[in-house]
Symmetry: C2
C-alpha cells in the first residue's frame, strides 16, 4: 500500500528565478529533441524530400538534423508506429513505399473514417459550428476564384478538421490524424496537377448542405465519396509517374 498524503502541500522550491525565458525566437524550447526530429522527419517524408522506399541511414540524418543517434532513433520508432516508415531488423529503416494498393487502401479507409465523422457531426454539430463551416466554405470558394492554391488547401483542410471535431470523439480525431499524415504525403503529389477543384467545390457544397439538413447518411456518403475521388486522382498520377522511380 502506497498511502499518500491527502493534503497537497506546497513543497519544494517555489519557482526558478526565471532564466529570462530566452525571449523571442524560441517557441518551443520545451520540446524534446526526439519530438523535433520526428516533426522534421515527417515533414521531409510528406514533402517527398525523403521519397517512398528511401533508406533511413541514421548517421546521415544525424548530420542533417544536428543531433545524435539516440533521439533520432526514437523519432524513427515513433514514425514507424505511425506507419510512415518501415523498420527491418538490423537493416536500415525505410520510408514506407507508396504503391497503388497502399494508396487505394489508404483513401478507402480515410474516406470511411470521414464518413463516420460526418454521420456523427450531422447529429452533434452546434448551430455556431455549422455557420462557421459555411463561412469557411465561402472563404474557400473565394480563394478558388482568386486561384490562391495554398490558401484554398489550408481552408479545405480546416473544413475537414472541423467536421472531425464536430463528431465529438477524440479517438476518431486521433485516427484521422494518423491516416491523414500518410494521405498528405500522397496528396502532395497531386498538388498543382489535378484541376479537379470545380467538382471538389461542388462536393463540399453538397456535404455542407447535408450537414445543415442534419442528414447523417447523406453527409457521410458524400464525404466518403469526396475523399475517395481525391484518392483515385492521386492514384492516377501515381500510376503515371510509376514508370520512372520504382524500388521493389
Amino acid at each position: 500500500m502506497t498511502e499518500q498524503s491527502d493534503i497537497p502541500r506546497k513543497r519544494g522550491r517555489p519557482r526558478k528565478p526565471r532564466p529570462a525565458d530566452a525571449a523571442g525566437t524560441e517557441r518551443l524550447p520545451r520540446a524534446g529533441l526526439h519530438e523535433r526530429a520526428a516533426r522534421q522527419l515527417r515533414s521531409m517524408i510528406v514533402t517527398g524530400k525523403l521519397p517512398g522506399g528511401a533508406p533511413i541511414v541514421e548517421a546521415e540524418l544525424c548530420e542533417v538534423l544536428g543531433i545524435s543517434r539516440t533521439p533520432l532513433r526514437e523519432a524513427v520508432k515513433m514514425l514507424a508506429a505511425q506507419g510512415l516508415v518501415e523498420l527491418r531488423p538490423n537493416r536500415s529503416a525505410r520510408v514506407a513505399p507508396m504503391d497503388a494498393s497502399h494508396v487505394t487502401d489508404l483513401f478507402e479507409a480515410l474516406g470511411n473514417v470521414e464518413r463516420i465523422a460526418a454521420e456523427y457531426a450531422a447529429l452533434r454539430l452546434t448551430a455556431t459550428e455549422l455557420s462557421s463551416l459555411r463561412q469557411m466554405q465561402e472563404t474557400m470558394e473565394r480563394y478558388y476564384g482568386e486561384g490562391d492554391l495554398a490558401a484554398y488547401f489550408a481552408v479545405n483542410q480546416a473544413i475537414h478538421s472541423a467536421i472531425l471535431a464536430g463528431a465529438r470523439n477524440a479517438t476518431l480525431v486521433e485516427m484521422h490524424r494518423w491516416l491523414f499524415a500518410r494521405a498528405e504525403r500522397a496528396r502532395y503529389f497531386a498538388l498543382g496537377r489535378h484541376a479537379r477543384w470545380v467538382e471538389s467545390i461542388q462536393e463540399h457544397r453538397d456535404i455542407l448542405a447535408a450537414l445543415e439538413a442534419r442528414e447523417p447518411e447523406t453527409a457521410g456518403r458524400l464525404l466518403a465519396a469526396h475523399v475517395m475521388h481525391t484518392g483515385t486522382g492521386v492514384l492516377a498520377l501515381l500510376a503515371a509517374s510509376a514508370v520512372a522511380g520504382d524500388a521493389a
Copy 2:
C-alpha cells in the same frame, strides 16, 4: 571537454556477455530488444499489471525486463505513438489513463471501424472464408457451452479478425489493431465479470447471417452495435470500480 583518457573505463557492455535469451519464453530471437520490450510492455498494460496512470520509471522496468534503458526508451516511444502511454517532457511517462469519456470514444470508434469492415466483408468475403467463419461460430458456441472462458475469448477475437481481413484493406486492419490494443485493455476488466455472453453469442449469429446473406448495411450495423454493447459493459464496470482507486 570530453577528453578524459587517462583511465580506461569500462564502456560498451561488459555486464551481460550473454543474455542467453534471459527469461524463459523466448519466441523471436530475430526481433530486436525494443520490439520485445514493446510487446512485453503492451502485455503488462493490457493485463493491468501496469494500471492506468501508473508512472513508467525507466530504471525499474529495465530491471524487470533485463535490458538497458535505450531499447526500453524506444519501446516506450512506440507505445506512445500507439496511444497506450503518455509522455510528458522531462517527467516519467505514464500509462494512458482510462477515464469514462475515453472508453466511450474508443468503443464508439472501434465499433464504427468494425462496421466499415463488415460492410466491405459482406461484399468481399469468399465462400470459403464464410464457411470458415461459420465453423468458428460453432466452435465458439461449443466453448461457451463448456464454459471455457479463455478459448471462447480467443475464438471470438479470431472471428473479429477474420471479418477485418475479409474487408481486404490493409490500412483498415492496421487501424483496427491500433484501436484494439487499447480496447483489449479495457476489455480485460470485464473478463470474468459481465455474463453477457448469451446475448453476445446471439449477436454473433445475426452478424454471421447478415454476412452470408451479403447484406453490408445489416452486417455493419449489427457488428457496430455488438462492439458498442461491449463498450457500455466495460464502462459500467469502470464506473463501479471508480469509487476506489482514483488519482486526479
